[in-house]
């Protein structure tokens, strides 16, 4: 049994991290996906996660979105525990209502977009605000149209996803996630399923978010150039651990660990 008293009920202090993984462990049977992960992400920080497949990088995002449970450790968002909740001065595993309350701070975009196929682009964006936040339809429509404008999709707002290209669907998916006003945005290989010629339209939207909005972002990507351009920090994952992390110029320019060097040169050769 894990000693939960080592984890604070709340992370206080100024500035406190927007996201904090404390000794988070995830295993499927004997396969350890993440091994005692410690990771803090500051408010407004853009962190890119890179690494070979199977290194656990996508799992980091999926745990934060509560799509995966964790085996031990605690994840905090904006200082409050996400995976756990306080009860009688102790942390116990979160129940559904706690998850729903804390999950509101987090938004996510997926590799395969996962737009709702039976709704138009605009309806996809309005769905969360209207159904989950209980926002009046007119207000949700205004906000969604604003966001579709931001991602350059206002002209296609009445189209169903099946009529949109991958890049267009992904931009709608970004608008849909933003419509919930998350504090933390997660991008899980959002360009991996796209044709090369439309990757730019999605990365440009993310660039715009980075430069114009004070969102905290975690991004799993295979695009090293993009990660280098826009990240405040890059984490290289290997075997369920952060092997090396640092500012992009440092990690890409002068990697210290051998595994990082090997990975980066292998990726370079592939290009």
């Amino acid at each position: 049994m894990e000693n939960m008293s080592q984890y604070p009920l709340e992370i206080t202090g100024d500035p406190r991290p927007m996201v904090s993984f404390r000794k988070v462990r995830k295993a499927y049977g004997s396969l350890v996906v993440l091994d005692d992960l410690d990771l803090d992400v500051a408010a407004g920080e853009m962190v890119s996660i890179i690494g070979p497949s199977g290194s656990g990088k996508t799992t980091v995002l999926r745990m934060l979105m509560t799509l995966e449970t964790i085996n031990s450790g605690v994840i905090y968002v904006d200082g409050k525990p996400l995976t756990h909740m306080p009860k009688n001065g102790k942390l116990i595993p979160a129940n559904q209502s706690h998850l729903r309350e804390r999950r509101a701070d987090i938004g996510m975009c997926f590799q395969h977009f996962n737009l709702f196929p039976h709704m138009t682009a605009l309806e996809n964006c309005m769905e969360g605000p209207v159904q989950v936040l209980g926002m009046p339809k007119a207000e949700a429509r205004d906000r969604s149209e604003e966001l579709l404008e931001l991602v350059g999709m206002i002209g296609k707002k009445d189209q169903h996803p099946s009529r949109l290209s991958g890049g267009q669907q992904q931009r709608v998916a970004i608008a849909r996630a933003l419509a919930m006003r998350p504090k933390v945005m997660l991008f899980d290989e959002v360009t991996s399923a796209l044709d090369p010629e439309v990757i730019g339209e999605v990365t440009n939207v993310i660039r715009k978010l980075v430069s114009e909005h004070n969102l905290t972002m975690l991004m799993v990507t295979h695009q090293m150039g993009f990660a280098r351009d826009i990240s405040d920090r890059v984490c290289f994952f290997y075997g369920g651990k952060i092997e090396e992390q640092g500012p992009p110029a440092e990690l890409f320019g002068n990697p210290k660990k051998e595994r990082t060097q090997k990975f980066l040169s292998a990726v370079k050769e592939a290009i």
Binding site: M65, T66, L67, R100, R103, A104, I106, G107, M108, F110, H112, N114, L115, F116, P117, H118, M119, T120, E127, G128, Q131, V132, H160, P161, S162, R163, A173, R176, A177, M180
Partner: protein, 221 residues
């Protein structure tokens, strides 16, 4: 030489048409019960409570593995021993509804399982409740792929209504039997019953297909 008498056909037609009405009422009411109950049976098999899932699955399996006619007899003849006294009509519709609810629950289950996992995850990422996920995201997408199966069972129920004749519901076969034994002529009533079934089943199947296409277009799929 076949001895076919048109005057007899015209004579019995009103009675047969009235029985057609009864048959349709039984089919539609049974189908209504099956549609609603089937959904609960399907969703009940997806709760996090293992024991509920297990019980429902076994009940569904049991009902699907035993003949409808036995279930009709059971409800009508054995029910009173347990203090459940139902008219032939009620017994029949409950039996048909229950029987087909089990088949429909499998259709719904298949439809729900055909919705990709990414849709559930996107709904979670939007922080939807379980009810919202089903109502807004999953069921609307499950319906188009379930429609074909749902339509087949509508026709199936319709064709199974003659089983209600065994407990005296005045549907088509029951009426045709009565006409036949009153007049010692079976050719015309049975032929007419066959034609009536055909005249209703065929267009229904076509309508269902058209409706399926319409729903898919409407949902942009």
């Amino acid at each position: 030489m076949v001895d076919w008498r048109w005057d007899f056909v015209w004579e019995i037609l009103p009675r047969l048409l009235q029985a057609t009405g009864n048959t349709l009422i039984a089919a539609i009411a049974g189908y209504g019960i099956a549609l609603v109950l089937g959904l609960f049976l399907a969703l009940g098999q997806r709760t996090p409570y293992r024991i509920v899932t297990l019980i429902i699955r076994e009940v569904v399996e049991f009902i699907r593995s035993t003949p409808l006619i036995l279930q009709i007899f059971f409800i009508f003849y054995v029910g009173p021993q347990f203090g459940i006294r139902l008219s032939p009509w009620m017994s029949g519709m409950i039996a048909i509804g229950l029987h087909y609810a089990c088949y429909l629950s499998e259709v719904y289950r298949g439809g729900i399982e055909s919705v990709p996992r990414g849709q559930w995850e996107a709904a979670t990422a939007l922080n939807m409740s379980t009810l919202q996920k089903y109502r807004r995201v999953i069921i609307p997408q499950a319906i188009p792929s379930a429609l074909a199966g749902m339509g087949n069972y509508l026709v199936g129920i319709f064709k199974d209504t003659p089983m209600l004749s065994v407990i005296g519901v005045a549907e088509l076969i029951h009426t045709a039997n009565a006409i036949g034994s009153e007049n010692y002529r079976f050719l015309e009533p049975y032929t007419m019953v066959g034609l009536i079934f055909l005249a209703i089943s065929l267009p229904t199947a076509g309508l269902i297909r058209a409706f399926e296409g319409y729903v898919r277009r409407k949902l942009g799929m």
